[in-house]
């Protein structure tokens, strides 16, 4: 029974139809959670004892950083599924995850840099986490650049999937080595989000934002995947139907 569902999931048309119902709810959830979380974090959470008001950037920096890293694994897993089960749809999700992940990594880097200025006096500090984030950014850019280099879509898909998998194996090694490198050169590490005890009044808005970001990620990933499916399958009759604005009937899985 589960296999049937899994194989139907591989059908672009089935995916497009089924996700149509989910999209408005995901969008609503994202807007509500991010909106509420931002207002809460910006205006209602108390000021930090050491950093003052600049710490409020945490409410966008941490969710973006979490998702940037999680997004890489989503991209790699989609690539692996595409390679193993030869599922076109999986490759489309991988490509969407690449773009999305790069944007989130950029957000994490930018907000991290801007946070650094009032906290440590400079925009760029080569600490372990920001350096690892930068390398993650290069990993994403590599996958995106590779995807544009091939003339045939299927070859590009497979090549990117392989690169994403190679990167996945390396990410823990890179993170650990950068961590070690940093402790070597800077004995006093500043860990502003790895506080063992974060005050609940600061934690709940953060949690709201993290969940909100996850919802937004899901919505955006599905939206990008849907568009790419339409682009790739433009010759099929069901796509022509969709482009004409007609709703799809419960037909065979395209």
């Amino acid at each position: 029974m589960a296999w049937q569902w899994f194989h139907r999931l591989g059908s672009p048309r089935w995916f497009y139809q089924k996700t149509s119902a989910w999209m408005p709810w995901l969008a609503l959830a994202s807007l509500l959670l991010i909106g509420a979380g931002s207002i809460w974090g910006l205006g209602f959470a108390p000021e930090d004892a050491k950093q003052g008001n600049s710490y409020r950037i945490i409410y966008i920096h941490v969710p973006a950083a979490f998702l940037a890293l999680a997004g890489y694994y989503i991209m790699a897993i989609s690539g692996a599924i595409g390679l193993i089960w030869k599922m076109k749809l999986s490759f489309v999700v991988m490509r969407a995850a690449a773009t999305l992940g790069a944007v989130l990594t950029f957000i994490a880097l930018f907000t991290g840099a801007v946070w650094g200025k009032p906290t440590w006096g400079t925009y760029w500090v080569w600490d372990a986490r920001i350096t690892s984030m930068l390398i993650l950014f290069f990993l994403y850019i590599g996958v995106i650049a590779l995807s544009h280099a091939f003339s045939r879509e299927q070859v590009a898909d497979k090549a990117c999937a392989l690169l994403a998998l190679v990167g996945t194996v390396n990410i823990p090694i890179i993170y650990k080595s950068v961590d070690w490198w940093f402790t070597l050169h800077q004995p006093a590490t500043i860990k502003f989000t790895q506080q063992s005890s974060i005050d609940p009044s600061m934690f709940y808005p953060l949690l709201t934002m993290i969940i909100g970001f996850y919802c937004l990620y899901a919505w955006t990933l599905i939206a990008h995947t849907r568009e790419k499916i339409l682009q790739r399958e433009w010759r099929t009759s069901w796509v022509q139907q969709v482009m004409r604005g007609e709703s799809l009937s419960e037909g065979k899985a395209g």
Partner: protein, 74 residues
């Protein structure tokens, strides 16, 4: 839970950190909005591309039809 600032101005200024906080939030939301709205742009492009294809196709068919009429015995 209470609002932490005395006035809207204080909210924007944030004891001097305002520019950093608002710049960070601003760029973040701009980037998120851009990536969220990008599919719309793709849809419009696809629409235009399909329109173009349809025009080319109908033009080709009408040229073929007129050629067929020409070679037809009267």
């Amino acid at each position: 839970m209470q609002f932490q600032f005395d006035s809207l101005t204080a909210f924007l200024y944030m004891d001097g950190h305002g520019i950093f906080v608002w710049a960070a939030y601003g760029v973040t939301f701009a980037a998120l909005a851009a990536v969220a709205l990008y599919p719309r742009l793709q849809r419009r492009r696809l629409q235009r591309e399909l329109e173009r294809q349809r025009r080319i196709e109908s033009r080709r068919r009408s040229v073929q039809a007129s050629r067929a009429r020409e070679t037809e015995p009267a």
